[in-house]
């Protein structure tokens, strides 16, 4: 269980994280989605006691992270896979942390094998690792203490498609056995595939949060017409909330039947009318990244 309560972080006049509150429940995977620079990493560092919040507080497993006596055995953390000593071997990185936590040496070898770092890779120095190998080492490191909670910042970065699929399975299994997972990403598709809950952050503020299924369902219908402008006018006249969707369609927060009737009365020919299926979420996300929907 992870709880953030009105977390805020200011750097001078810049507000990096602005009044962020959420709860991650045991047995679930929570996706933490936002473009680069949205405040994901700062929020995660505050959860782990590495950055002192300007306001608000956070608890992990019911207590502030810093007050956990042996946090490595309760919370697996991967904040930056590249933040390892370049001159230390992968095996040694795990062995050092295993010694801190009092974890048996055999677990280091078992985890290296499990994340796909073979004997040769394990004896290489981290400086010679690819980003994908560093991520694998970081995931092994997070799992080292057999924790109940995982906090992972962009763990899929640099992983190949096979590795991403493997990681999804691993996180799903971890949550299904009662664990709590918070993972961040700047790609909607990445969290969509594995998350139960979703938190969307942009410019330091949470812009959407809830069950992934509900967020995807609650985005109305997508509609296209031969005369897009006429349809838009008619919908506006009927008082329905309309947004531009990707590919020239319109996103309407109303049932399909109501949109169909408006089109009929306005004598506009529809070419498409369907449930948006996350198009709204995608639209929201694109608006955060500042780019237009492609």
């Amino acid at each position: 269980m992870i709880a953030a309560d009105h977390l805020t972080k200011r750097y001078g006049g810049h507000v990096a994280v602005d009044d962020v509150s959420f709860v991650c429940e045991p047995g679930t995977v929570t996706g933490f989605l936002g473009p680069n620079g949205a405040g994901k990493s700062t929020t995660m560092r505050m959860l782990c006691g590495l950055t002192v919040p300007s306001g608000g507080s956070a608890t992990v497993l019911g207590a502030p992270y810093a007050s956990l006596p042996d946090p490595g055995r309760r919370v697996g953390v991967l904040l930056d896979a590249s933040a390892q000593h370049a001159g230390r071997t992968g095996q040694e990185v795990l062995a050092v942390s295993a010694q801190v936590m009092g974890v048996k040496r055999e677990r280091v070898d078992a985890l290296l094998g499990a994340v796909g770092l073979d004997r040769r890779a394990a004896k290489k120095r981290v400086g010679a690792y690819s980003l994908g190998m560093r991520q694998r080492l970081g995931i092994a490191h997070a799992l080292l203490g057999d924790p109940e909670v995982l906090i992972l910042d962009e763990p899929a970065n640099g992983l190949d498609p096979e590795g991403i699929k493997w990681m999804r399975g691993l996180l799903r299994d971890f949550a299904d056995r009662g664990g709590t997972v918070l993972l961040s990403s700047h790609l909607l598709g990445e969290v969509e595939a594995v998350a139960d809950d979703l938190i969307v952050i942009g410019g330091g503020q949470i812009v959407a949060q809830g069950r992934l299924k509900e967020l995807l369902a609650a985005s109305g219908v997508l509609v296209r017409a031969t005369d897009q402008a006429a349809l838009e006018d008619a919908l506006a006249l009927a008082g329905l909330p309309v947004e531009q969707a990707g590919g020239g369609g319109l996103l309407v927060d109303a049932p399909a039947e109501q949109v169909g009737r408006v089109a009929l009365e306005a004598r506009v020919v529809l070419t498409e009318l369907r449930a948006a299926d996350g198009a709204g979420l995608e639209q929201l996300f694109f608006s955060l990244t500042g780019g237009d929907a492609a």
């Binding site: 560092r45 042996d70 946090p71 001159g87 230390r88 009092g102 974890v103 971890f174 056995r177």
Partner: protein, 260 residues
Amino acid sequence: MTATAPTSTAQHGAAAGAGARPPLHRLALVELRKMTDTRAGFWLLVTTFLIAGAGLTLMASFAPPDERTLAGFFRAALDITGLIAPVLGILVVTSEWSQRTALTTFALVPRRGRVVGAKALAVVSFAVVLALVCLQLAVVAALLSPGDDAWDLSLGAFATGVLLQTLGVTGGFAIGLALLRSAPAIVFAYVLPIAFAILGEAIPGFRDTADWLDTTAPAEALWDDTGDGTAWAQLLTSWTLWLGVPLAIGLARVRRAEVA
């Protein structure tokens, strides 16, 4: 790549021993390990011993018989290793920031004061062990090339040697902690005492004060056995300054620092 998840099949956190705070001595052992398990740390140590070995070989071959004593070899070994050893003390702290391993270190041990304490303990232990290795090198040199009165080494001189070595390495550690950056810390640690001594020589009015702030002169006096109570007092005041101030600054910085 295996398809199965690598976590244990048992429920989370069920492993024996979970929940207890890692004891300080274990953290100190980890810090000692981290000093030597990187490429840089390993080769710095090897180089230190190679240079010390070479220095003692030269001394054993060419020094006059009255200098080829256990005390003479011991002091030479300490002087040589003492030139490089403070760098290891500096890197114990600064590499955590330059290599960004502080992220992992403080995630595993969030009470940062304990990490600093463990590092201090590791640095002191390292210095003492280093002094003992120097003694062994000196014994070998004295065996191979005994001069007059070859086995002369008073307990006082031995203790002084261990103490000065420890102060030197700990001084590096303190400056590393205050600055948190390798390059400035190394420059600071080596240049400042020299600048200080020169300043003491150059400015007449400053000299009396400098005697109490200079770490090298009282150490010389103590080595040469000409040191009296004043030399000890001067050693105490100067090291209180050179250790105390950077340690206090460093501890405050590390506690508050944003780790990213």
